[in-house]
Amino acid sequence: MPPIVNTKCNGCGACEEICPGDLMEVVHGKASCRASRDCWDCMSCVKACPRQALEIRLPYQLGYYPATLVPEVRAKEIIWTCKDINGNAETFRVKTRND
């Protein structure tokens, strides 16, 4: 299942540039996924988006609504915030590059 595109998208094309499956494209100035069934959930586009305009969503067959996982990408770390279906939130500070 692909990312959901929210209103922050300005059609910059960073997701189109990076998607390993050639699935993201900018249509009429906004990001869109051409085949949600073909997404691998790798989150490359979500990490690449400069405006947090993309949100990852699991197929409903696998996981219930409305859990969220949001990365805040910084130079050498990602701050991940995960909310479960009961509203419980967890935050992780993951180091991604050495100092």
């Binding site: 959930d41 989150m43 996981g63 990365p71």
Partner: protein, 587 residues
């Protein structure tokens, strides 16, 4: 990005002809390490990578990785590694290849750390943090962008979004590769002195069980964009292939179909069945219990289900709160959406264990031994062509470190062989015209007739056929001669139907060539499964009509080659050569 306008006729398709010393097909882990190594051997060499996606996030490392599973720790020897790998693979590995790989295992990992990838250390600060016999923990979320940066810095040229379609042959010699731009629609003709194939393995040959669900078609463990193109190009060119029948069917997390070592190895959680029994300890003690060969462990959940003892789990209920957090941290580095999956189930894994199940089978030479038959410098049976990573056969248990190491080994030989060529061979106009027509015909078929078969339809037909008749997860990985012959008959029909494939745009054209490649891989795979009339690796290869192992006939490699004159896939065996003494089934 402005959409590319489709050509009105074949002669409107622009041709781009490029020349380089070394062409690497596939800019994943193995391909990038090969590229950097080739530049180290000789900085004057021109190195070009042909990549169907974007190098920053292509291949198996797109989402990251949380461990390196083959790192030689202090005190371990190459012989130790060979004995372990051999026992995990049921005694069938190429020992010569495994030795040369083991000698190079640590270098790429240490370079990666130097380049910026964080690796955890043990508390005394001396050694990398251990996660099992050969495993270390890494924070590899950004390991692919880091590797891509270094590949560019080394001066390699990257052709992003170019899909390789076939080798360019001059007799038995590979002199380049054809491809097309999935974004620009152009035909690429790349001539080179040495060619390295590093396209990864093949996903999507079999139907994954999640495909029943809306939007879950690509909920796979292995990268779904690795469609077996490197195998298929080799098969079509008459390269010798080995051990396709040793499929990689794995224990994965149920539904999410994600990696399990993070939990099972990283946090030593036992596999339990529906009755709460520790399966390996209770039922597989005679095969080594928790240290049973990899195929036994991989097959455990499906065997338990079949015998009425499912569902199965990894028992996470004994984990501490801080272990659960550490485990989620690890997953965020490899498959972040598994953390989302648990949240979307509202699952507290200290109370409710994580369910496990079998995966769809993959052909992947970094885990099992399927792929090109290569010699110790990773040259294939086609002159001028080298193979490394998941596409190269004979060496199971490479994983990330081994694929990188193999890229380096292949590049050293490929760089040296360039010295023998002062100029590039000419390519006949006929050859180019034939391939051009083969690549683009589905676009014009769609335009001119508007009717035919969409690649997605054919892909699903192939996957269901293989699942039901060639030992997919819905058949508990089991098969017999009659079911395999059925599969073969229908694969031949599918092959005849390729002429009806249509595509509306260049993305769909990529899917067309993906399904054509998968059919070629599937056909060779079924021939291999038919030929090995025994059961050597239950789960990976279970023949219900030959349920026992038969060392008198099959303690050897099963190899194949497409006879390009007759079109027949010819099967034969090659002897096992033991170099490291000892019982091949014991680590």
């Amino acid at each position: 990005m402005a959409k590319t306008i489709l050509p009105a006729s074949l002669d409107q398709v622009e041709e781009v002809t490029l020349e380089t010393d070394i062409l690497i097909i596939g800019a994943g882990n193995a391909g990038c390490f090969a590229a950097i190594e080739a530049k180290k051997v000789n900085p004057d060499l021109q190195v070009m990578l042909m990549e169907k996606a974007h190098i920053d996030r292509s291949g198996c490392l797109a989402a990251g990785m949380d461990a390196i599973n083959t790192y030689m720790k202090k005190g371990r020897t190459v012989d130790d590694f060979v004995r372990w790998s051999r026992s995990q693979a049921g005694g069938i590995i190429r020992e010569d290849l495994t030795i040369s790989m083991a000698e190079h295992l640590n270098q790429p990992i240490e370079e990666w750390e130097k380049w910026g990838m964080p690796i955890k250390y043990e508390d005394d600060g001396e050694e990398y943090k251990s996660r099992g016999k050969w495993d270390i923990t890494v924070s590899g979320s950004e390991m692919k962008p880091i590797l891509a940066e270094k590949t560019r810095e080394a001066g390699c040229k990257v052709l992003n979004r170019v899909v390789a379609t076939n080798y360019i042959l001059d007799g038995n010699r590979v002199i380049g590769a054809f491809g097309f731009g999935v974004r620009d629609g152009k035909m690429y003709i790349v001539k080179a002195k040495s060619i390295l194939v590093a396209t990864g393995g093949a996903a999507g040959i079999y139907k994954p069980y999640q495909a029943d669900g809306y939007d879950s078609h690509h909920q796979l463990w292995y990268c779904p964009f690795n469609v077996g193109t490197g195998y298929a190009m080799g098969i079509r060119a008459g390269a010798e292939m080995t051990t396709f029948e040793m499929r990689w069917c794995a224990t994965r997390t149920k539904d999410f179909n994600g990696p399990i070592d993070t939990i099972a190895v990283g946090y030593k959680t036992p596999m339990i069945n529906g009755k709460g029994e520790k399966i390996l300890e209770k039922r597989y003690a005679h095969l080594g219990g928790d240290a049973a060969p990899r195929f036994i462990r991989a097959n455990v959940p499906m065997e338990e289900w079949r015998d009425g003892r499912g569902p199965c789990y990894v028992d996470t209920t004994g984990m501490t709160e801080s272990q659960v957090r550490d485990m989620k941290y690890d997953y965020l580095n490899e498959r972040p959406t598994f953390v989302l999956f648990l949240a979307a189930r509202g699952q507290d894994i200290q109370k409710e264990p994580i369910e496990i199940y079998g995966s769809d089978p993959y052909i992947v030479g970094g885990h099992t031994a399927s792929g090109y038959w290569v010699n110790v410098n990773r040259s294939t049976t086609l002159e001028g062509l080298y193979a490394c990573g998941d596409v190269a056969g004979g060496t199971p248990n490479k994983f990330v470190g081994g694929c990188a190491a193999e890229g380096m080994i292949a590049a050293q030989a490929a760089a040296k062989s360039c010295e023998h060529f002062s100029s590039l061979a000419a390519i006949s106009a006929d050859l180019i015209a034939t391939e051009k027509n083969r690549i683009y015909a589905p676009i014009f078929r769609y335009k001119n007739t508007g009717d035919g078969v969409r690649p997605g339809e054919m892909e699903e037909r192939l996957q269901r056929l293989m699942d039901e008749y060639a030992g997919g997860v819905h058949q508990f990985f089991r098969m017999n001669r009659e079911s395999l012959q059925y599969a073969l008959r229908h694969l031949q029909i599918l092959r005849d139907q390729v002429k009806y494939l249509i595509s509306e745009d260049f993305h769909e054209l990529m899917e067309v060539h993906g399904v054509i490649d998968r059919i070629d891989v599937a056909e060779v795979l079924v021939h291999h499964l038919l030929y090995r009339e025994e059961t050597r690796w239950p789960g990976w290869q279970t023949r219900t009509d030959y349920p026992e192992k038969d060392d008198s006939k099959f303690d050897c490699f099963v190899n194949s080659r497409l006879n390009r004159t007759t079109g027949v896939v010819e099967l034969f065996t090659r002897a096992y050569e033991q170099m490291v003494p000892g019982d091949r089934l014991k680590p």
